[in-house]
Symmetry: D2
Subunit: 151 residues, 4 copies
C-alpha cells in the first residue's frame, strides 16, 4: 500500500455562489486538478501520457458534500488510487479545510483510451507502475452505499 | 406517477475541453439548471422558495458519462423526482443529444434547510405537492450498483 | 447597414457570486455565445468555418458593467459587426435585462487564423459576405474613451 | 512608486478549450485572483474589507491577449495599482508564462461601494494607505489606445 497524493488549492471568488459557499460543480473541477497532479507524479505529466499515445476519459463520478467551503479557503486535496483494472483506474478524493475538516469526498472512475481512436485500451505497465506508490485502500463499505442515501 | 420535466440547453464553446468534448464538471452545472426548472414548475421559482424561508443544498451526486457531447450540441435535459424524504429530495437526471442518444445521467440528493440557520428542515406540504407531478420511478437496480463499476 | 443579431440566455445559479450578481468573467462567456450565433447566421455554423480551414482567436476585449444581472434573469444578448478589417472582425455586444435595462456592453476584436498553422490570414469573401447583414455603426465616441474612465 | 504584487497560478484542464489554449473568459477570473491577493496585501483580506462595511464592484475591464497559455502552464500574475480615485481603483494586470513571455494583460476599474446599500462611496484612508505599496506607473500611451485596435 502507498499513500494519497496531496496538494492545495485556494477557493476563488467566482467559484462561490449566492449561498456564500463553493458551487458544487467546482468540486469536480478541483478533483480534476488532483488527477493532473497524480499523472505528474505517475509519469511526468498528463502531456507525457498523451505523448505516449493514450488518454483518459471520466466514466463515472460519485461526490458527497460534507461541509461548506468558502471564498479564499485553502483546501487540501488528497487523491489515492483504490483500484487499477484492465482498462480503468478508480480514485478516491477528499477536499479538507485548513482546519482539517472534511469538506467533500468523491470517487472517480477513469477509462484509458487510445488517443487517436478514443477506444478503450489496457493500461500499459509503465502507467501501472507509476500509479503504484499512490495505491490506498478503498473507502469503507459504509461509504459505498447503493443509491444516494435517503433521509 | 408523473413524468420528467424537460428543457434544452446549448453547449458553449468554453465548456468543451482539449478532447473536443464537454468537460465533465459542466454536467453538474447543467443538472443544476434542471433543478432550477423543477423549482420553477413546482413553486413558481427558486426565489419563491427562498422567499418562503427555505433553501436547498446538494448533499450527494452520482454521475455516469455515457457518450461525449460536443460544442454547439443542443442537449435535452430531463429531471424526475425519484424520492421525497422527510428533509431530502432525490432527483434523476439525463442529458441526451438531439439524436436521442444518452450522453450522461445522474442522481442528485438535495437537503432542505432553513434559509437563515442552514439547518435541515422538513419539506413543507406546498413543496411536496408542487413536486408531485414530476415523480418518476427510480433508476433500475442495475444502475444503483455500489461503488463505481470496475472494468 | 444591417442590424444586430439577438438571442437570449438565462443566468445560471452557479454564475452568480457572493454579491448575488453574475460574476464578471461570465460576461465574456456570454458574449462568446453571441459569436457562436453570429457564425451560425453568417456561414451555417462555427464548425462550417473550421471545415473551410480557418478559425478565429480573440485578440482584445473591452467590457463595461452597467447594472447587475441576477440568478434566473433572462438576458437579451445583441451582437453587431462594427468593423471588418483585412484579418480582423470587431463586434459590439450588449446584454440587457428582460425589462430592457442595459446590463453590460463590450467590444471584442477577433483575428482570423489559418486553422492548421494558427497564423493570421485574410478574411475570405464568403465570410465577409456572410457577416454583412449584421454590420452596425460602432459605439459612440463617448463610449470609446481611452483608458478605463476614472472617477 | 511601489511595485507590482505577484503570485502564480496553474492552468487547469477544464480551462482550456478546443483550440488547446486557455478560454478567454478565464483570464478575467485569473485577474480576479490577483485582486484577492492585492486585498490580502492591502488590508489583511477581502473579508477584512467587507467586515469594515465596504465592497468593490467591477465597472470596466480591458483585456489584450498576446500569446496562448496551455494546460498545466504555471502563469505568473502581476497586479499594480495605476490610479486611486475618489471612489475607484484602477489596476494593471499581466499574465506571463514561466519562460517570461507575456500571455495577456489588462486594466480593471473597480468602484468602492457601501456593502449594505451598494452605493458608491469614497475610499477610506486605511484602504488608500494599504494600496500605496503597490502603486505603479500606468500602461504606456500606446497601450491606452481608444477602441480595440484595428488591423
Amino acid at each position: 500500500m502507498g499513500q494519497p497524493l496531496v496538494h492545495t488549492l485556494r477557493v476563488r471568488y467566482g467559484e462561490c455562489d449566492l449561498q456564500g459557499i463553493v458551487f458544487n460543480a467546482h468540486y469536480l473541477s478541483y478533483f480534476d486538478t488532483s488527477i493532473t497532479e497524480l499523472w505528474r507524479a505517475a509519469c511526468g505529466s498528463y502531456q507525457a501520457m498523451l505523448d505516449r499515445g493514450v488518454d483518459i476519459v471520466l466514466a463515472e463520478a460519485r461526490l458527497r458534500f460534507r461541509a461548506p467551503a468558502r471564498f479564499d479557503d485553502e483546501l487540501t486535496l488528497a487523491i489515492g488510487v483504490t483500484h487499477i483494472g484492465t482498462t480503468s483506474v478508480l480514485t478516491h478524493h477528499t477536499a479538507s479545510s485548513s482546519a482539517g475538516e472534511l469538506v467533500a469526498e468523491g470517487e472517480l472512475r477513469h477509462v484509458l483510451v487510445d488517443r487517436a481512436t478514443v477506444v478503450k485500451t489496457p493500461l500499459p505497465d509503465w502507467l501501472r507502475d507509476g500509479l503504484e506508490p499512490w495505491r490506498v485502500a478503498g473507502p469503507t463499505t459504509s461509504g459505498r452505499s447503493t443509491a444516494p442515501a435517503q433521509d
